[in-house]
Symmetry: C2
């Protein structure tokens, strides 16, 4: 039994005493205790592949702030690493793959990896779950099939992801194959996280927002819909709630809200009141403070966070989050102010409703 | 009298024989003849500030392709340069200002620049207009008040424009002042371009899409609305049609369509059929092919461009364009294929309608 299940109830659009809040990258570089663990691990992947250390950093933000959910500490690119592409993180830079997947032969040789290669992730889920002692739910996650493909094709981050965008129009058949293999891998990966104890799962579609509407439907939203339809129930037989987040996807909100997810993540560009009006009560909405507001000061953070709580309204189904991950350099006291403001303002608005 | 006024008629939502097409950055680095003129000029600003050379490069794409409009060759940052901030372009990099505007004193000292400092722009407009001999209309343009402020605050491009986004929540009063001064400057600037002969004017809001909905309304859309309301008629007394383009603004399309512009530019992420359904016939729509499709091959370009022409429908009010500027490395033959496909497909759809 969970002591605080507000996150799961909000995701199921059931009433809660306050608006639950968690933050993308809540375990990360802005926390000095994370930096220390990261230094002990030697490398980012050394940290991510060690269940003891992954558990330690997952729990760090919960020791500081009364967050309403934990999220597995891992990376969105563990699947292509398990496919043998060789993932590394250079200091202060983004991900880099030793091998890229750009031509027909490379695409045809892609296979769903043996989930045993990702056993460190499932071990971390199980260990975090134990060490949470039922305080709050644990969120598992994966990158989306298209976002994985973007990095696999480019070999890392890119200013414009030109190779994947041109493949989408020149060789849509190849990209179809890649995202189909990735979708099967993500399905197996999330099902193993669920079996290991994840209370909810989220698909991060970081780069789907770079696509045209037609290409987004075909290469990103469609494969995510397939995954959501193939997820298994939790070990106790209950359905596991899901969240889909496409950064830059506000323009396709109506279609995303019908993809089968329990909740839809919103980046900070959309007005959350308009988003609620557009989707009705089909789904929960998660978001959507500009993460750079956390670079300001506690009073500004509290004011802006409270404005979003009020705009989201008092109908069930809002989970407070940022519109993208916490940026390094965020003062931890600003995160404290945010969590406090979300809880206090949402209790006030419920009392007044 | 213009020999080809399809662009202006489409912008006024009047019927045309074919869908007019022009391309953002149609005069630019992908053209070898541009590279030659650019080398003669010595520097980008040397080119932009020389009316003879600016005229030459403006007309270059029209000599190659049957485009339906010319656009002044200039830069979106001429206004802050005239304010004394010292604009330069390092080879292969973006713009850079010698002076930034970040604190209260710097903001308070901002003034609308003497338009005489921008005389090179108005001279170029007049000269291009003469040398066009009425073939097609000439589009004048400016950066938006918010986009100018973004560069003025950061001192150049930025991966996340963190300073301006934090100023938006911490010191909205300072940002209000900056965009208000910029809006007055843009109004004077566009009115001078109209007086010099521009047949239409466009406001490029490259970075408004980084803002939250509330901040976009306050710091970007509002000032653009003020400018549009203050534009003067052409020397012959006729109203000058206008276009507003916010990259990433699809999520706010309904509000943008009511800002007073004749046309709204669309980036490539929005489905143009859905955009038309959303705005009705309030405005013309301009867009919206992913510019990276131009890196593929003529057959792919023709197929993707034709799909957009068909999706836009046969009701008057579509101007074909890219969803952002042409990228360097675009093969000119792909641009030829695009223009041909837009003209041919739009004639076919009209004949079949």
């Amino acid at each position: 039994m969970l002591q605080n299940d507000t996150f799961l109830r909000a995701l199921r659009r059931e009433p809660t005493e306050h608006t639950p809040v968690w933050l993308m990258r809540q375990a990360g570089r802005y926390l000095p205790e994370y930096q220390k663990t990261r230094a002990r691990a030697g490398s980012f992947m050394g940290l991510a592949t060690n269940p003891d250390l992954a558990t330690e950093v997952t729990l760090q933000p919960l020791a500081r702030f009364p967050l309403d959910a934990a999220i597995l500490f891992s990376d969105i690119l563990t699947i292509p690493d398990a496919m043998g592409l060789g993932l590394t993180f250079a200091e202060g830079e983004g991900p880099r793959f030793a091998t890229t997947v750009r031509d027909e032969a490379a695409v045809r040789s892609l296979r769903v990896p043996d989930m045993a290669k990702l056993g460190y992730v499932f071990a971390a889920v199980a260990q975090i779950k134990r060490e949470l002692h039922g305080r709050v739910p644990l969120i598992g996650f994966s990158g989306s099939p298209f976002t994985l493909a973007s990095y696999m094709i480019e070999g890392g981050g890119s200013p414009d992801f030109a190779r994947v965008r041109t493949m989408a129009s020149m060789r849509p058949d190849l990209l179809d194959t890649m995202v189909a293999v990735n979708a099967l891998a993500v399905t197996a990966y999330l099902n193993e996280q669920i079996a290991a104890g994840a209370d909810a799962v989220m698909i991060f579609d970081t780069w789907g927002g770079l696509l045209s509407a037609a290409a987004y439907r075909r290469f990103s939203l469609g494969p995510m819909r397939d995954i959501l339809a193939a997820l298994k129930p939790a070990p106790d037989g209950s359905a596991v709630p899901t969240i889909v987040f496409t950064k830059g996807g506000g323009v396709w909100l109506d279609e995303i809200a019908s993809c089968g997810a329990s909740g839809v993540g919103l980046d900070w560009t959309i007005d959350i009141a308009q988003a609620r009006a557009a989707v009705g009560h089909r789904v929960a909405l998660q978001g959507n403070l500009d993460p750079l507001v956390l670079l300001t000061d506690p009073a500004t953070v509290a004011r802006e966070a409270s404005a979003i709580v009020r705009a989201a309204g008092t109908a069930p189904g809002h989970i407070f989050n940022l519109g993208h991950g916490i940026v390094p350099g965020t003062p931890p006291e600003n995160v404290a102010a945010l969590v406090e403001a979300v809880h206090a303002t949402s209790r006030e608005t419920r009392a007044a409703a």
